[in-house]
């Protein structure tokens, strides 16, 4: 129980997000209407994806310096979890786009950037799957993982800032940027992001622990 305090925080925060996210007042904005509440659910997916993929990057670097195969295991499981939340982010974004822009997908820098990032990480799994020898696989995929995170920063953080976008928070859209994400929303948004990140980390640790047990059993045999 002592080690699990952060899991409790994760659950409490997300539960708070669900309740307060639906019930607290939100600013009335044209085009967005009530869908502005998606900020509490769709956006934390991307925050958690970036966090968990950073964990993946960190462990890849650790593998390259220490050559401990367990770091490679952690890195790959983190990338797996990152893909789950990334996929949820894309799907929820797509649903939202259908009802605010009228199309499931538009050729927008933010949307395409997110999609390309996902593809780059899918290639990471293809690469892993194509190498049989453990140490070799770990080394090559660790190097690729560093490249992948750099690409993530480019596609999710740099290019969207250089271009205009339909996506809320950019350009001529009446959505939320730092001026109209009002304080009421911040009260839900920050706990939402913290809660979801911790929640996703929890799911990731479960995967890691299971894979480690599997590996131990395999080695004992």
């Amino acid at each position: 129980m002592k080690k699990n305090w952060w899991k409790i925080i994760a659950v409490v925060f997300v539960l708070y997000t669900i309740i307060a996210g639906f019930l607290l007042k939100v600013p009335a904005q044209p085009i967005l209407h009530e869908s502005i509440r998606n900020l509490y659910f769709h956006v934390p997916m991307w925050f958690s994806m970036m966090t968990i993929l950073f964990v993946s990057l960190w462990n890849s670097i650790k593998y390259l310096s220490k050559s401990n195969i367990e770091s490679d295991l952690v890195a790959s499981q983190a990338a797996h979890t990152g893909m789950l939340v990334g996929a949820l982010g894309l799907i929820t974004g797509s649903i939202w786009a259908r009802y605010t822009w009228g199309a499931w997908w538009v050729a927008d820098t933010k949307l395409n950037g997110a999609a390309i990032t996902m593809l780059i990480y899918l290639a990471y799994f293809v690469l892993r799957g194509s190498i049989d020898e453990e140490q070799k696989r770990a080394r090559i995929s660790a190097v690729y993982n560093i490249f992948a995170y750099v690409m993530l920063v480019v596609f999710l953080m740099i290019i969207p800032r250089m271009n205009d976008s339909l996506h809320p928070g950019n350009g001529g859209n009446p959505g939320f940027n730092k001026y109209d994400l009002d304080s009421n929303m911040r009260m839900v948004f920050y706990p939402a992001v913290t809660g979801w990140i911790l929640f996703v980390v929890w799911m990731f640790t479960l995967r890691v622990r299971l894979e480690k047990v599997k590996r131990k059993i395999y080695l004992n045999d």
Partner: protein, 80 residues
């Protein structure tokens, strides 16, 4: 309770309370924008909140059970 934990909790509370003070800054309204006022007035929104909350609690219960199972498995493997 380690210092790190205390610091984290303090940080989160500071975030929330800081926003409360800033509420006075809320901007006045312009033209009325259509919102789901009906759903709020009739109180049916609580049904939606209850449904989503229960789904989430269900997922959390599942994760807790999974967590325990893995802990048991870890102990078993260690004792071998």
């Amino acid at each position: 309770m380690s210092t790190l934990k205390r610091f984290l909790i303090l940080l989160v509370l500071a975030f929330c309370s800081g926003s409360m003070f800033a509420q006075a800054m809320q901007s006045a309204t312009q033209a009325p924008v259509e919102m789901a006022t009906g759903l709020y007035q009739s109180g049916k929104i609580y049904v939606v909140v209850a449904v989503v909350a229960i789904i989430f609690i269900g997922i959390v219960t599942y994760l807790i059970l999974l967590d325990r199972k893995i802990s048991k498995l870890e102990k078993e493997v260690q004792n071998k």
